[in-house]
Symmetry: C2
Subunit: 158 residues, 2 copies
Amino acid sequence: MSIPDPKFMKAAVLAADEGLTLGKGGPFGAVVVKDGKIIAVGSNHVTSTNDPTAHAEVMAIREACKVLGAYQLTDCEIYTSCEPCPMCLGAIYWARPQAVYYASTRHDAADAGFDDSFIYDELNVEPENRSIPFIHLAEESAASLFNTWKTSDNKKEY
Amino acid sequence: MSIPDPKFMKAAVLAADEGLTLGKGGPFGAVVVKDGKIIAVGSNHVTSTNDPTAHAEVMAIREACKVLGAYQLTDCEIYTSCEPCPMCLGAIYWARPQAVYYASTRHDAADAGFDDSFIYDELNVEPENRSIPFIHLAEESAASLFNTWKTSDNKKEY
């Protein structure tokens, strides 16, 4: 893990500021850095693209993966203007960069009207008791999917 | 919230099965239902599209939002072949459907080699101590983003 460089955080904030000025979505920006260079920039595009998953970190991760031609951000670092929400945290774990640097916190985001902190709290609520209930509905054929996967010879793991 | 209909879960499993057969990615499928009809289908496309965020639920949510021309899945339900990972749970909270039905669990997924359960555990680890460290890096200009947002007259909230 390299020493964090404030210039990359300023670039993430600049991306957020540009997105905000252009009406792309919420005030969030992120950059992906590899070998001391920015390889992808993202800003929130939720409302302008009708995509609730178009958060800055998701946008930057998807772009960086395109640039690298890979589904893993090996040896990369992510700088984001705000602590990632649970969706973005999950996306980061699946992309597997080396480290994440964030400026504002989930509490700053909550204070500005965003659900980040609320969603963190909901994660620890029993699925069926959440504000959006998550209900287990058994389906016999679902188990066979994992059996097929586990015994497959040519699967591409991720 | 309507009574869950097993035929929609079978459709989610079928989407997973098709994706698996075609080599699109992992063994996961999901559908979005509105007014008793499937309006979007998704399956995991991580490895075939080099997109670590292309989980079945994210694919189905993005597609359903396109169909509805909205960034909210009001009055919709999601059926997914497996309990959503934290990324997909977050995406679901931002999309705000009425309910989620899932067949296999995060433990079934873990048993098949997927990180879902691991990521759930990491969420409760202090950010800087996670296997991917999340490090607070203060940046003065980040706070002004939220101030601009809060005082903006023409923002589109989500």
